[in-house]
């Protein structure tokens, strides 16, 4: 079973890297890029579990390590 975790900075937390990417896109002539937020995608290969148990376990992984919930939010996809 695969789980994909998307980690993003929470709304309102300044993302200086995203802002630098936005500036670079504008410099390349891409108009209308009003905002860029940069995050992380983490793929997990999990030994056979049912989807519900995997969701619970990955949620605990996010809370304990994969995301810093002071500044980051996360979203889990189980596939």
């Amino acid at each position: 079973m695969k789980a994909v975790v998307h980690v993003m900075l929470k709304p309102g937390v300044l993302d200086p890297q995203g802002e630098a990417v936005r500036h670079a896109l504008v410099a390349l002539g891409f108009d209308g890029v009003q905002g860029v937020r940069q995050g992380k995608v983490i793929e997990l290969d999990l030994a056979g579990e049912d989807a519900g148990a995997a969701q619970d376990r990955v949620t605990r992984m996010c809370e304990k390590l994969l995301a810093n919930t002071v500044i980051e939010s996360y979203r889990i996809e189980i596939a």
Partner: protein
């Protein structure tokens, strides 16, 4: 008086920190990150600067979950002293011993220079040897020193006099120019600047020596 200096893969200020402890009369012992307990009779734990675990995932994140960190958290819970410098500060926030988070510098650059700070609180075992409002110069060397916390946390830090050091002119975008904070019981200090790199004239300044002298004084008085 004994100090434990925790060594992670990628720590690079561990020996500097040990020298600074020894110069203040505190015997340092190096402790590997895989150890599950601290040696007997440790008065203060030092978490050194560096790039523990290559800054993978987030700075300090992996180190904060290493076996020895459970022992450090227990030490802090018993009211033990903990000093985290630079990467050590990042480990302390990731371990939940201090509030907030340290993000990428707003200028996106690694900043490496002498930095003027003001001593914002002298009511800690780490800063009691400074004068209130005194300016000191410690080196800074970091890419992720931009201190962030929610408004309630920032208000609480101010109300409880827990900001130990502030930047004079922010080098990294930190909220309220915060360079270092202490825990609610004032026994855990995390700061981005490097006092251990300012203890001998050959370092270019000796302002950091007072921090280690204060620690030694607090331990002698205890």
């Amino acid at each position: 008086m004994r100090a434990a200096v925790i060594v992670f893969p990628g720590s690079n200020c561990d020996r500097d920190l040990a020298v600074a402890f020894r110069a203040a009369g505190i015997d340092p012992v190096m402790v590997w990150h895989k150890d599950t307990s601290l040696p007997e009779g440790i008065d203060v734990v030092g978490l050194p600067g560096g790039f523990s675990f290559g800054d993978y995932l987030r700075c300090g994140a992996i180190a904060a979950r290493s076996p020895v960190c459970n022992a450090v958290v227990d030490h802090a819970a018993r009211g033990g002293l903990v000093l985290g410098i630079c990467n050590g500060f990042q480990v302390l926030v990731e371990a939940g011993l201090l509030p907030g988070a340290l993000m990428r510098n707003t200028g996106l650059k690694f900043v490496c220079k002498p930095q003027v700070l003001t001593v914002a609180s002298t009511d800690t075992p780490f800063t009691a040897a400074f004068d209130a409002g005194q300016t000191v110069t410690f080196p800074i060397a970091h890419h992720d020193g931009n201190y962030t916390a929610d408004a309630d946390t920032l208000a609480r830090l101010e109300a409880e006099d827990r900001v130990a050091f502030r930047y004079r002119g922010t080098p990294n975008g930190s909220a309220s120019d915060i360079a270092g904070i202490v825990s609610a019981n004032r026994r855990v200090l995390g700061l981005m600047p490097h006092p251990e790199r300012a203890i001998e004239p050959l370092h270019g300044g000796t302002d950091g020596a007072a921090l280690f002298a204060a620690l030694a004084g607090a331990l002698t008085a205890a």
